[in-house]
């Protein structure tokens, strides 16, 4: 149907990021670092496209990858010092949330547009009104996302995050 956080939209699947060269007999900590760093790179690779806002898939991909990253962090929390880990976890959660608000509206607008074809002219008028209303909300919902991106850039979040999770060799 519409799904704001699903794996598909218009038949496109978001595939799981591949973590190359990971050996299951390595320590969990070593693998956790690899996975988190890999997912983080994947997530951030969609940022510019999400900022642009031309193709809604960028927001979708960034949100899904942020969820995968959080799932990994939930599983591997014990591998890292608690306090800094919590700080980075909260940041990733903030990314998921702000992206979520935009994505939910993207898919709702798409859903109601699809419904239009099956309605009478009179019924369509109501739904067009609703779509316009959602488009205004969408514009507003992009602002916290853009502000968060700005904050992350100012705080050099990307470098800090990688320094922490890559470890000494970064």
């Amino acid at each position: 149907m519409i799904r704001g956080d699903s794996q598909k939209l218009d038949g496109k699947m978001v595939t799981e990021p591949e973590v190359k060269g990971m050996l299951p007999d390595e320590t969990l900590e070593a693998c956790a670092r690899q996975i988190i760093v890999n997912y983080f790179h994947e997530m951030m690779s969609y940022k510019e496209g999400a900022k642009e806002g031309v193709d809604i898939e960028f927001v979708h991909e960034m949100r899904v990858t942020s969820r995968r990253l959080r799932a990994a962090m939930d599983n591997f929390a014990d591998c890292f010092p608690k306090k800094p880990f919590k700080k980075y976890y909260k940041m990733v959660r903030a990314i998921t949330r702000t992206m979520g608000a935009v994505r939910d509206l993207d898919v709702l607008i798409a859903h109601f547009r699809n419904e239009l074809t099956s309605l009478t002219e009179v019924e369509q008028t109501d739904i067009r009104g609703l779509i316009e209303h959602l488009q205004r909300e969408h514009k507003e919902a992009r602002q916290p996302m853009l502000m968060l991106f700005e904050e992350l850039e100012e705080a050099d979040f990307e470098t800090e995050f990688l320094e922490f999770f890559v470890g000494e060799d970064f």
Partner: protein, 176 residues
């Protein structure tokens, strides 16, 4: 939305494979904490939380897939992939139910913002039509979900999955 359950017994300096056996069953148990609520279709929040837990299990299984990719155990790899597909299936149908709940909430919210509540809705035929259609879709999706859940349960889904999760250590013992 419910937070992820804290996993216990994780050993950062033990192997990834060993920890898969510790973490995966806990993610599966998290899914089952929502099972008592699924017979009541009005428990929207709990159904949504079950979907989130299923998604968490799915992502965790994807993360640990490599621990079950022993070249000599192709059957285990295939079974793992089959279970993942079943989990995606459950996630999708619960997602459809949640989508319907979101659409219904948006439609109701839109009507209330226009003012006049029930009197207003009577003069919004498009909204009335979509509410009726979405309610029907949700009802069908909910029945599909229950059928699927019952079918999986009857086939011993949980026990089989738990056995599969513990198999990674057997693989290591046998083949290392």
């Amino acid at each position: 939305m419910a937070k992820a359950h804290k996993v216990i017994g994780v050993e950062p300096l033990e192997s990834y494979r060993e920890n898969a056996r510790v973490i995966l069953p806990q993610r599966l148990e998290e899914v089952y904490t929502w099972e008592p609520f699924i017979r009541d279709e009005t428990r929207r929040e709990e159904l949504h939380n079950m979907r989130i837990s299923i998604k968490r299990l799915r992502y965790t299984m994807e993360i640990f897939r490599v621990a079950y990719q022993d070249g000599s155990q192709q059957t285990a790899v295939n079974i793992y992939t089959e279970f993942l597909a079943m989990i995606v299936d459950l996630q999708e149908i619960l997602g459809d139910i949640h989508d319907a709940d979101v659409v219904l909430a948006v439609l109701a919210d839109y009507v209330s913002q226009l003012g006049n509540g029930e009197r207003q809705i009577a003069v919004l035929p498009g909204i009335v039509r979509l509410i009726a259609r979405t309610e029907m879709t949700r009802s069908v999706d909910y029945e599909t979900f229950l059928e699927k859940w019952d079918q999986f349960s009857a086939a011993g889904f949980k026990q089989k999955l738990l056995s599969l999760f513990s198999a990674t250590c057997e693989l290591k013992t046998r083949y290392s």
